[in-house]
């Protein structure tokens, strides 16, 4: 808060008590200096302690692959493993309330195997029967619970045919070569810290009766923590 002092004028008698009061006020109020006492954005990078890790963003981790192909052929979410497996292991990374993990992956889906009624327009058993999906999962280091988080990135393998307009109907050709990605900020909005054992990317196909497999290749997986 602004510091106040008495005002003196020429000819006033000096009163020790008044002068002492001024300095006492200064001493008291400079102990609680706040944004009214400082200029905006006074705190620059040079003022910030850089001891140890980066102050605001920590624990950068990245995995990448360039050669290995993985065939995804299960309707159960399974770990993406392009050698290396897309799992970043922390063994107890603590995410305090309000802190964020920024998670990203980018992966190519290079081929798909579509079963009946492949090649002929028809209708899917479910609206996502032609789809494959990706999602982030993590293991709680304390409880051991494994859970998915964030949205499920879903990609369709069907394409618009020459005779069938866009619909839930399976099309005559599949859509391949799609680069798939997902970016998620995992925010600890709880009141307690969360301890991460690991984070990984998992993939699945939605309906093996229609889409028996998807081949994935060439990917990157990145996670880092951001303080609030």
């Amino acid at each position: 808060m602004p510091v106040s002092v008495d005002t003196y004028e020429g000819g006033d008698a000096m009163v020790a008590a008044d002068v002492n009061a001024d300095y006492a006020a200064i001493a008291a109020e400079t102990a609680i200096l706040d944004d009214e006492n400082t200029r905006s954005e006074w705190c620059s990078r040079q003022h910030i302690s850089q001891a140890g890790n980066a102050t605001f963003n920590l624990n950068f981790a990245q995995l990448e692959d360039s050669n290995t192909t993985q065939v995804v052929n299960s309707t159960t979410f399974a770990q993406v493993n392009l050698v290396p497996a897309f799992r970043i292991t922390y063994g107890g990374l603590v995410l305090q309330p309000g802190e964020v993990l920024r998670c990203h992956f980018d992966i190519n889906a290079i081929a798909a195997t579509i079963l009946s009624p492949a090649g002929t327009p028809g209708y899917l058993a479910n609206e996502d029967s032609d789809c494959y999906q990706f999602r982030f999962f993590f293991r709680n280091f304390v409880s051991g619970v494994v859970a998915g988080f964030g949205p499920t990135a879903t990609y369709s393998t069907t394409n618009k045919g020459t005779t069938v307009p866009p619909s839930t109907g399976i099309q005559s050709v599949d859509r391949i070569g799609q680069r798939c990605s997902l970016h998620n900020c995992f925010l600890n909005a709880t009141a307690a810290a969360i301890s991460f054992d690991w984070i990984e990317v998992r993939a699945r196909v939605c309906d093996t009766a229609y889409l028996s497999s998807v081949s994935i290749k060439e990917g990157t997986f990145q996670v880092f923590r951001a303080l609030h």
Partner: protein
């Protein structure tokens, strides 16, 4: 600059009210908005000294989720295209040689050790009419990182490979994109990639999206680029 006292009183000399007031006024001005960066001891501030973003109950926002944003390029003109050509490798079309995509590359000189986080996306489509050889095919898109002023052939990062297809002729899936419909529309793929790498102080870093064109001419549109730098 630090506070300086305008009037220094002398021992055994009467203190005038005016002089005392001058000192007080100067002190008041200094404390009330007179403090500048240089008055704060360097490396004295930790995260607890900085106002944090409201993360709960009010607005779930974060002040320091990102690093320093170093340049951002967003193409908002839907009809704006850039072009790439395979002419520079006309005798070796199928080789993997790259060229930078316009407005999708940045140079950063690292002031300290740190990490650069690169987020980019674009749509690149090979034009069917000018395919040197029909079906050759999917042009590769990569992130490329080069140091200093030398760009070498192996600077592209294989794991960031994405496919930009040619525009097929109807009835023939010449580029294996899955499209056998009317040419032009359905072979398009959005390429998005995030990547980071750690660099040292003084590094001159050139980060770019590059394309390995497999058709005679291709166009690139809807470009988006972010660069974040996290100094350590």
């Amino acid at each position: 600059m630090p506070f300086t006292v305008p009037v220094v009183f002398v021992a055994a000399t009467a203190v005038s009210a005016t002089s005392l007031q001058t000192n007080h006024t100067a002190l008041r001005k200094y404390i009330n908005h007179g403090i500048i960066k240089a008055d704060i001891l360097p490396v004295s501030v930790t995260t607890t000294d900085i106002v944090r973003g409201e993360y709960a109950n009010v607005v779930r926002d974060h002040q320091f989720t990102t690093g320093d944003i170093f340049t951002q390029f967003v193409e908002t003109d839907l009809f704006s295209n850039s072009y790439a050509t395979s002419h520079f490798k006309s005798y070796d079309l199928y080789s993997l040689k790259t060229e930078a995509v316009p407005n999708m590359s940045k140079r950063v000189i690292m002031e300290r050790d740190g990490t650069i986080f690169f987020s980019a996306g674009m749509a690149a489509i090979g034009d069917a009419n000018y395919e040197l050889t029909p079906g050759k095919k999917a042009s590769g898109v990569y992130v490329q990182i080069s140091l200093n002023d030398r760009v070498i052939a192996t600077d592209y990062i294989p794991s960031t490979y994405g496919r930009a297809y040619t525009e097929d002729n109807a009835g023939a899936d010449v580029d294996t994109s899955g499209n056998t419909t009317v040419h032009g529309i359905y072979s398009r793929r959005w390429y998005a990639q995030r990547y980071w790498r750690t660099f040292n102080k003084g590094d001159i870093v050139n980060i770019a999206l590059v394309v390995d064109p497999r058709s005679d001419k291709m166009h690139i549109t809807a470009r988006n680029l972010n660069l974040e730098v996290f100094y350590r």
